[in-house]
Symmetry: C2
Subunit: 328 residues, 2 copies
């Protein structure tokens, strides 16, 4: 049988943020409805090489596909070789026969499906007239969050904070070229938070640098960076009294920003308001006042990879992208 | 960068049982010495399609490679399509950069590395003059166990029991064509056990069918079939007083034949004598008498896939097998 192979360029050609947002919404609902098997994330750590590899797998009853994503972060790449820091590979298998249907680059998919997640949360939870967004970090995910958000809201200003001047300049250039927003470079995290309606954190920080006193009423927070125990971007006290939504409660309490608030004793697991699939299914009220602080904590789910890889696979077949190889 | 792609035919060409036995021995020792990260096995079950998928991952410090094997068993394959029941895919990544080095068929590798495991255990634990082997099951693994064993001992007779007459006849034909052994077809499990020096079980049985009263002093047992909770081939009472060796104690007590003996209350985890890596490292005595009953319980480890896939990868590069594809 033939297995489809898709390079990063093929994937880029086949992907559209708008479709991904829609697919991820459906995936979140399927997960909430118990139609998804999503085993625990496998993590391998190689500190001697400043690297880590995660494996996220998923079986989606709705499309009857198994997805397996092997995603690595090797933080000396680029310096000691010419490889990107983040490398990912996604495999799709037929859930009726185990046949390997597709092997594709997974780097872009991780970026875009995470951007889609943030956008979905803002559509549901941010104030409707949100215009100003604080962004922490200047990497790929800091871009994707804005590309996603611009699909669902009329954003006018992005206030970005990052540690490196060159990164900030390049970020401004890219985001302004790809969207209609005006990007303001901020010298401190506090400056970025000024007038923010939505605040998105995408850094690998291990110690929080966003203070509670900078959070104004009505803010919607998208906490992306903390995706494993030991990472922390937000003062845990911000969780107190906020409406906390998780992509997966199981994952966020064990490896997300929510974990930090629980470990700090600020909240208990019971204080988490909902999983995002419950909100999408219309089972609980969304934001109930203009002053409420809402937090979406996302650690990234196999179901997001599953539905996004399926979009890519179907589009690539339709358009004749990629190559074929007979493994069996 | 280029990723090597290897089909099942390429893998077959690159593999030699003798080398695999040697590599698996080194892998077991590396695991015992703490040089291997082997996360928990991920299992996805699709009972509505009579199928299951396991993911075994491993990082081996010695070769600095990450291996990920996605192996499926869909038991209606062949009837409702023309695919094999067992399908596997193995990926190798560079543990220094996360780069995807190779995607290869993994079906043959699972078979051969498991055959190698059984052979290694017999070399260590069976009586030196073992000539007669009882085999339960007539599938690929029942063949591989004998192909492995014949590399390390002078076996004269295989007494095979299986449920289907055609399977038995085909087994005899294949094994006699590929080895010097004489294959005797047995109508009952008890007949297969007569005069056996070594007994190897490779069935998917969920209820034991090999009785304690058939086990004679000095037997070496290789328990392969039971690799997840709910599978059982041997009367748990056989474990009482036997020298029990596991590939991985963690895995065997949670999903191997050893688990059944613990659940039945016949032994406690403390009664397990050793992991096979300890024996290979020379840290504990092997068989101490001609009458001792020894049991090797193997559930299959990521490190076996890792070292076997590396042999294939290196041999394929040397011989120019396979194709290349640029994912990134």
């Amino acid at each position: 049988m033939e297995t489809l192979l898709l390079s990063i360029k093929d994937v880029e050609e086949a992907l559209a943020m708008e479709e991904v947002i829609h697919a991820v919404e459906e995936g979140y609902i399927a997960y909430h409805e118990g139609k998804v098997q999503q085993p625990e994330i496998v993590s391998i750590e190689m500190p001697q090489n400043n690297g880590e590899t995660d494996i996220k797998s998923c079986y989606n009853q709705l499309n009857e596909r198994i997805s397996v994503k092997i995603a690595s972060g090797f933080y000396d790449n680029g310096k000691k070789n010419d490889l990107p820091t983040m490398i990912g590979t996604i495999l799709l298998f037929d859930g009726k026969s185990g046949a390997p249907l597709c092997v594709m680059d997974g780097s872009l998919i991780t970026g875009i499906r995470t951007g889609a997640a943030g956008a979905i949360s803002s559509k549901l939870l941010a104030r409707k007239n949100s215009k100003t967004v604080a962004v922490f970090g200047t990497g790929g995910q800091a871009r994707m969050q804005i590309y996603g958000l611009c699909q669902v809201m009329d954003i006018e200003e992005v206030r970005v904070y990052g540690e490196h001047r060159n990164g900030l300049l390049k970020y401004k250039e890219d985001v302004e070229a790809n969207t209609k927003v005006n990007v303001i470079l901020c010298e401190t995290p506090e400056m970025a938070m000024q007038d923010a309606d939505i605040a998105i954190s995408t850094t690998p920080s291990k110690k929080y640098f966003i203070e509670r006193s900078w959070v104004r009423p009505g803010l919607h927070i998208v906490a992306v960076g903390a995706d494993m125990a030991g990472k922390n971007e937000w003062d845990p006290k911000i969780f107190q009294g906020s409406k906390i939504v998780n992509d997966s409660i199981a994952q966020c309490v064990s490896r997300g920003e929510t974990r930090n608030a629980i470990v700090a004793g600020v909240i208990r697991e019971n204080d988490i308001y909902a999983e995002i699939g419950e909100l999408l299914a219309g089972e609980k009220p969304l934001r109930v006042s203009e002053d409420e602080i809402t937090i979406f904590d996302t650690t990234g789910m196999g179901i997001q990879d599953n539905v996004t890889a399926m979009i890519v696979y179907e589009a690539a077949k339709k358009r004749g992208l990629g190559s074929y190889f007979e493994f069996i």
